[in-house]
């Protein structure tokens, strides 16, 4: 009982993942700045931003439904923190692991997107509404390639548990090379999930102010910001667990270091991608996802099915 509570609230739960999320945000921002030849923020900037937002007065639009408006950020934050509990980081398996947790994590990662939609819709502002429609439109475009990319790797490993996938690939590390396609598709789809350039269409600053977050301020905005940070960590950790099982052999603190490095590497890749591209339009994004990403993910799926047939009958 106590250990479960400790896991949920402190490590690897809320406290740890928040700190890690903020650290990852700093890493992303700093790298982004350095790639653009700027100095970038000091290390405490994300924390300072968070404190500032928490200290600010919260304004709720008079037409908005106050309950929904306040509840959705908490809903989003809870789901991403929960998702993190199922990811293996310290030990070979997470404290709550079960066979099928990869599916659970993927679904828990969808909840914040829905929360953005509901929050944006209930704030009743025009910009928020356009933003939330874009959020949901975009969800239909990137979700399928993301699922297919990750699940085709799981298919080859013949297990729905993250621990199983990690163990399988550390045993057959050469098979990782077959998953390059799946990894690239998932990484690009993750950009869409995290609303980063070139897929930051739902919160495109120069078009619809801040999309579904337009009306949010103070504490609720802080929670949404934290959600996005944690979502980034969870998404990166998921990709790391599925596609980079390196260091699964070692145990103890070294394994933890490996975990951090892997996550930051993927965050770095996201940072690099968002630095060198322009934002697409929503119709272009959807066309891109269905025209290129889905067929590629499908190809990966077929490839893995064939491989599985040849290798493990």
């Amino acid at each position: 009982m106590f250990s479960a509570l400790f896991a949920m609230l402190i490590f690897p739960g809320f406290i740890f993942v928040s700190a890690f999320g903020l650290a990852a945000e700093f890493f992303d921002r700093k790298l982004h700045a350095r790639l653009q030849n700027r100095v970038g923020p000091p290390w405490f900037q994300p924390v300072a931003d968070m404190i500032k937002l928490l200290a600010k007065e919260e304004v709720i639009p008079s037409d908005a439904n106050p309950t929904m408006f306040r509840v959705t950020p908490i809903f989003a934050l809870t789901s991403v923190v929960t998702a993190f509990l199922y990811l293996p980081l310290w030990q070979t398996h997470s404290p709550f692991a079960f066979n099928g947790d990869v599916i659970l994590v993927l679904y828990l990662l969808t909840i914040p997107t829905l929360a953005f939609f509901i929050g944006g819709w209930y704030s009743t502002s025009l910009f928020s509404r356009i933003g939330s429609v874009r959020v949901i439109t975009q969800l239909f475009a990137y979700e399928i390639p993301l699922f297919m990319g990750i699940l085709s790797a799981a298919l080859l490993a013949d297990t729905w548990s993250l621990q199983g996938i990690t163990e399988f690939y550390s045993r057959h590390s050469w098979l990782l090379l077959c998953n390059i396609l799946g990894f690239s598709v998932s990484l690009i789809a993750l950009l869409g999930k995290l609303e980063k350039v070139p897929f930051d269409i739902p919160e495109a600053e120069t078009e619809i102010v801040a999309g579904c977050f337009t009306e949010y301020s103070g504490r609720s905005l802080a929670i949404f910001r934290l959600t996005l940070d944690i979502e980034m960590v969870v998404g990166a950790a998921l990709l790391a667990a599925v596609f980079f099982p390196m260091g699964a052999g070692v145990n103890g603190p070294l394994r933890f270091v490996f975990f951090i490095i892997k996550v930051l590497f993927i965050v770095g890749l996201i940072s690099l991608l968002r630095t060198v591209m322009a934002r697409l339009r929503i119709d272009q994004m959807i066309r891109f996802c269905w025209k290129y990403m889905v067929p590629l993910a499908f190809l990966q799926l077929i490839l893995n099915l064939i491989l599985k047939g040849i290798l493990f009958i």
């Binding site: 790639l35 350039v197 930051d200 269409i201 120069t206 339009r281 119709d283």
Partner: protein
Amino acid sequence: MHDSPKFKIPLGPQHPALKEPASFSVALKGEKILGVEIRLGYNHRGIEKACEDRTYTQDIYLIERVCGICSHSHSTCFIQAVEELAGLAVPKRALYMRTLIGELERIHSHLLWLGVAGHEIGFDTLLMYTWRDREVVMDLLAELTGNRVNYGINTIGGVRRDITPAQIKKTLKAMDILEERTKYYIEVASQETTLIERLSGIGVVLPEDALRLDAVGPTARASGIARDVRRDDPYAAYGDISFDVITDNHNDVYGRTLVRVKELLESYKIVRQVVEKMEAGPITVKAPRKIPAGEAISRYEAPRGEDAHYVKSNGTEKPERVKVRAPTLANVQVVKHMLKDRYLADMSIVIAAIDPCFSCTDRSIEINNLDNKKTKVITWETLHTQGIAWHRKHGIDFTSLNKRLKARIK
């Protein structure tokens, strides 16, 4: 999409995509734009009226502040009209100096535009890079004229500052650096997929529409209309200098981008010619305080297009009437045309593509505090104490943190 509700969303007067206040009221169906209503005038500050109350010397500086980016364009345009009225023969060196500053200003404006365009389509790296490189020309302008934006180089009858050989060397060096960078940006603009995807095919203005709607500057030239005051109605030293008028037949925002980056290369060419051909001599002639009665219109190719100033004098120290027609005013009607049946997402870049400058556009009247009763001036100290009090009330106290921060800065 038949049943999707019609939205009417306000873009502006305050909006992140607009660097200056202007209001675009957009009727939307889904993501599609049905119609746009433009409301300008938020930047009205009474410059035309104010000019009538000031002497010509004072007007130079007032006119220069019509716009922050094309300040030299406006002041040169105004001064040309005044010099025509006074019948002054401006020394050659002064004309070359004006051309030089004018082209440097065009370089800085076009680089600025490229960055802004990048920002509008979410390409912040382009913004950071172009603005970094823009500093080269800004520093050069500060060195040549004594200020980064409001150069104050013009005076009636000539220019106020001469260029030294050391400065010429610096200018040429800066041109080499910028030329190399510009070539890289041309490469990026012609290869980066996401950039091309976002820019091409939007904000289309066909050549006949551009003519009909009186488009000016790069907006017209990107529709294949070779309209350039520098060539058509040469002023300053442009008559002695060879350069090409860049046109493009893409007719869209992408074409406007190409026109601007290629014009940068032309500007480097012009700057090099100017410093080479510049002859020694005086930089100013004495100008009378009172300008003889008459009227004159002067045109100038500002970075954004044709700028026109009309000056009417009545034989006194002050002008009778000054009329400013900034390039954006001519292009505003074109924007309306461009936005029809486009997506909301394209709106900001299409507006940005004419390189709008609303403070240029709106000039005329000053409204002196319409309701004096409501205006309250809060001093900084009061605001400071009020802010601290508000936070303390909500249980937040930064006193100790503040002390430590101050100690650190010391």
